[in-house]
């Protein structure tokens, strides 16, 4: 079945430094990939999603590139902000049902 792997459980970094969160996936077909972000005591919400035409999605300074050859969709930001402290989920979806399969999540803590 489909699966998403996020290798880092916790990432701690200093404000202003770059951040990269890893995401790899296994899928029978060609899925769509997503990053959802969940701030403390809030609902998960979409951060960005892959495009069908190989454009690189960007939002709030974050970007991710879908590499089908390596089945990866890593999330990157060049300069972390304190407000980026949150739980980040990588997820995939395929088929008309739009069921999301999530990774276990990576908690990001940005310190001053």
């Amino acid at each position: 079945g489909d699966s998403v792997t996020q290798t880092e459980g916790l990432v701690t970094l200093t404000e202003g430094l770059p951040v990269m969160l890893n995401c790899t996936y296994q899928s029978t077909y060609s899925p769509f990939l997503f990053w959802y972000v969940q701030h403390l005591n809030e609902a998960p919400k979409l951060l960005l999603k892959s495009f069908t035409d190989n454009k690189r999605p960007e939002h709030q300074g974050f970007h991710a590139t879908l590499h089908k050859s390596s089945s990866s969709f890593h999330l990157q930001k060049s300069s972390a902000q304190l407000s980026d402290s949150a739980l980040y989920y990588c997820a995939l979806s395929e088929g008309a049902g739009n069921k999301l399969t999530f990774g276990i999540g990576t908690r990001v803590l940005v310190r001053p």
């Binding site: 996020q6 899925p31 769509f32 809030e42 609902a43 998960p44 919400k45 979409l46 999603k49 892959s50 069908t52 989920y89 997820a91 979806s93 395929e94 088929g95 008309a96 049902g97 739009n98 069921k99 999301l100 399969t101 999530f102 990774g103 276990i104 999540g105």
Partner: protein, 113 residues
């Protein structure tokens, strides 16, 4: 923005009791989902629905039932609650395309004692 409302937001239940978690969406989305969130497991799909009257099993349906009486409402039912069902439950709604955004409610924290 899409609105998904869950009730109750917090619930304490006794082992063996019946628990019903309710979800309402005002976006006219066909698809609705119930996930549970646990540290080390992420978000896992329990049940989902393609529209009024339909329910489908997700990845971890054992011990749960679902009901979709209308386009707007989707309930999760624990007939005999167990401590292992202590978790945070999220309802979500979304369109039918595989690349469409899914909108989540704020979650229900359930503790089974």
């Amino acid at each position: 923005e899409a609105a998904v409302t869950q009730s109750p937001r917090n619930k304490v239940a006794v082992t063996g009791g019946k628990v019903t978690l309710s979800c309402n969406q005002t976006n006219n989305h066909n698809n609705m989902y119930w996930y549970r969130q646990d540290t080390g497991h992420g978000l896992r799909l329990i049940h989902y629905s393609y529209g009024a009257g339909s329910t489908e099993k997700g990845d971890i349906p054992d011990g749960y039932k679902a009901s979709r009486p209308s386009q707007e409402n989707f309930s999760l039912i624990l007939e005999l609650a167990t401590p292992s069902q202590t978790s945070v439950y999220f309802c979500a709604s979304g369109g039918t395309g595989a690349n469409t955004e899914v909108f989540f409610g704020k979650g229900t924290r359930l503790t089974v004692v």
